[in-house]
Symmetry: C2
Subunit: 348 residues, 2 copies
C-alpha cells in the first residue's frame, strides 16, 4: 500500500524521518509492502511545500541542507501567496497520515494540539513525537481518533524510538502493569554519571553537558525534572488509564545533589538516579520524579550516560526492563516510521 504523508514541522526529527525513508524505501517495500509519498512539508520557519504528486525526498533534503526555504522548493512555489496557516494546510491537504513534529510546548501543547485535532477531524491518522499534546490532551485526542476511526500514535514521545508503547501494548498483553519506573531524561543521567565516574561537582558536569549540546542554556526543564515529568504523565495516562496533568505534580530534580552525596552513595554500594515513576495504588495513580539512591542490584543503576530505561512491574512476568536511546535524530525519526508501519500493519 502507498500512503500519502504530510509533515508538520521539519526540524531534527522530521529530517531524521525523511533520511530514513530515503535510505530504506526499497527495503520497506520488499519487507513490509509499504510505500510512502510525502505530499506536504509545513514548517513555520522553513516554509511550506505542497506537492500532491509527491516530493522528491533526497532533493528536498539537499534543499533544506543548503539552508533554502521550502517556499522555493519546486512546483509548490506558485501556489502560496499569501502563505496559509499550517492548520489550514493540514485541513486541506489530501493525505492519509500527518506526522506532527513541531517543537514541544509543555505548558500549552500548542500549536501541535490544534494541528493534531484538525488532522483527525479531516480524517487523517496522526503520529507524533511531540510530548505536549500527549501529556496534556491524550484522552481527548485518542477519543477523537476513535470516533473518526483513525489512529493517534505517540511512540516517539517517551524514549524516542525505543519501542516502549509497542512493548507494553503488544508484548505485555494479558499482564496488568502495576508500576512503571525509570530514567527518562538523558541530560540528568549524563550529569549524574559524570559526577560519579569523573568526580565532578554538579555545576561542572552541567557545564560539560551544555558544552556537548546535551543540556540547553536554560537547563531547568531537564535538571528540575519537568521533562521526565511530562513523560511519566504520558505513561500514566496512556498505559495506566490515568488522567493526570503535569501541573498537578511537583517534580524534584537533581540540582541539590552534590559530589559528596554521590560519593557517599557509592560507598554504600548505591547510585543516585533521577527516577520517574507511576503506579496504581488504591484506585488512584501516584506519579512523580525524584532523585533516588538505588542499590547496584537494580537494573536502572546500569543505565549510564545519555541512555534511558524503564522497568515495568507486571503481575505475571514480574519486572521487565528495557534500555535504549532516549533521543537522537535517527532514533526519533524511527519512532515516526514505527508508528506509520503499525498503522500500515493494522490496515492491511
Amino acid at each position: 500500500m502507498k500512503y500519502r504523508i504530510g509533515l508538520v514541522g521539519c526540524g531534527v526529527v522530521g529530517r531524521g524521518f525523511l533520511e530514513i525513508l530515503a535510505a530504506k524505501a526499497e527495503n520497506l517495500k520488499a519487507k513490509h509492502g509499504f510505500e510512502a509519498k510525502i505530499v506536504a512539508i509545513v514548517d513555520k520557519l522553513k516554509g511550506t511545500a505542497v506537492a500532491p504528486a509527491g516530493i522528491d525526498i533526497k532533493k528536498v533534503l539537499r534543499h533544506l541542507g543548503a539552508g533554502k526555504s521550502l517556499d522555493d522548493y519546486g512546483p509548490a512555489k506558485a501556489q502560496k501567496a499569501p502563505a496559509p496557516e499550517p492548520v489550514d494546510i493540514i485541513g486541506r491537504v489530501e493525505a492519509d497520515i500527518i506526522a506532527e513534529l513541531t517543537y514541544t510546548d509543555i505548558k500549552t501543547g500548542e500549536p501541535a494540539t490544534s494541528h493534531i485535532r484538525k488532522a483527525l477531524q479531516t480524517g487523517k491518522h496522526v503520529v507524533t513525537s511531540n510530548k505536549g499534546p500527549a501529556a496534556l490532551h491524550y484522552r481527548e485526542l485518542a477519543g477523537l481518533a476513535a470516533k473518526k476511526k483513525r489512529q493517534f500514535r505517540i511512540e516517539g514521545t517517551v524514549m524516542s524510538g525505543t519501542p516502549i508503547f509497542t512493548l507494553a501494548e503488544r508484548g505485555f498483553a494479558g499482564n496488568e502493569i502495576r508500576e512503571i519506573k525509570g530514567i527518562l531524561n538523558g541530560t540528568t543521567n549524563f550529569i549524574l554519571t559524570k559526577m560519579e565516574i569523573d568526580g565532578m561537582e554538579y555545576a561542572e558536569a552541567l557545564a560539560l553537558a551544555q558544552k556537548l549540546g546535551y543540556a540547553e542554556a536554560d537547563p531547568t526543564a531537564d535538571v528540575e525534572g519537568f521533562d521526565a515529568l511530562a513523560k511519566v504523565v504520558i505513561l500514566s495516562n496512556v498505559l495506566l488509564g490515568g488522567s493526570l496533568k503535569p501541573t498537578e505534580i511537583k517534580p524534584r530534580g537533581i540540582s541539590s545533589i552534590t559530589k559528596r552525596m554521590v560519593g557517599e552513595a557509592q560507598a554504600e554500594g548505591c547510585r543516585y538516579k533521577l527516577v520517574a515513576y507511576t503506579r496504581r495504588a488504591g484506585g488512584k495513580i501516584e506519579a512523580g520524579v525524584e532523585p533516588r539512591k538505588l542499590p547496584l542490584s537494580d537494573p536502572l543503576t546500569g543505565v549510564m550516560g545519555a541512555q534511558n530505561a524503564l522497568t515495568f512491574d507486571l503481575d505475571l512476568l514480574g519486572p521487565v526492563t528495557i534500555q535504549g536511546a532516549g533521543a537522537g535524530k535517527l532514533a526519533t525519526g524511527d519512532a515516526i516510521l514505527q508508528d506509520i508501519l503499525a498503522i500500515h500493519h493494522d490496515l492491511r
Copy 2:
C-alpha cells in the same frame, strides 16, 4: 471471539497457562474481546481429557493437583479405550489452536515436532514454548504454517514470556538487526553471580543451584552452554533469517571459570557472563556461546541471579537491551497466552 484450544503436554507451563486463563477470563473478555474453551488436554504421563463442550479449568487444575489422571476426568472417561496416541488426538480434535507444551528434546525435537506438524496440517494454529522444534525445524514449520494460512508462534522458547519476538518483529519494524547477544541461561548466571558476590568456587555454587532447583542433577545442558545455544540458534533462524543447526556450533560453558578468575575480572572492573551471540557478518551468520569478561558499563553485567537479558544492535536505534524473567510457571504460561492473543489480534 471464542477459541477452542487444545493442550499437548500439561506440566509446569501448561498448568501455569491454565491458572492464568482461570484467573483472567473476565479481564481478557472485557479488555481484548477474547474467550477460550479448553477442548482437550493430552499428556503422556497424566492421561487425556477431551471435551468438545469445554473443560472446567478450575476443576481440572484441582483434579491434577490431587495427583489424579486426566483419564478419570469427567465425561472424557468413556471415550478412550484403547488410549490413542497424542498425534492422533491432535489430528482429530476440533480445535482452533494447539499449545504444544511437552518437554524439550533438543537432539530430535520429538515428539513435539510431529505434534506441531499434525496440528498445522489439520488446520490449527500452533503456539509453543518448546525449544526443540523451534531450534531444529523452524523454517519447515513456519513454511507449513504459511502454506496452511495458520500461525506458528514461539514467544516462550527464549526468555519465557519476556516478549522478545514481539519486540523484535513489531517494535523494531524498519530497523535492521545487526547483532543479538545476551544472557539466555539463568542457571549459569546464578552460579556466576554466587561466585562473584559470595566468593564461592564453581562446584559450591553449582551445588547450591542444584539444591535450590535451578540446576538439574546432570547440569551439562546448562553449564556447558547447550541450553543457551539452542536459544541463540532460534534467534538466528527466526530473526536473522539463518538456517543454523545446534550441532553445527560448539558452545563453551562456564565449568572452567574459577573463583580466582572471577576475582581478577572484578579487580579490572569487569564481570564474567555466559554470553550467547549471533550476528550477520559478510552474508553469513556467526553464532555461539562463550564466557566473556564484560566491562561494568555493559548493560548485560547488571543482569544478576536467574534473570535473562538480550541486547539488540540496530541500525537506526543503536543498542536496545531487554531484561526479564527467563523461566517460571507464570512467566512461561504467559508466553502461551501472549501468542494466543497475538493470533486473536491478527484475526479480529
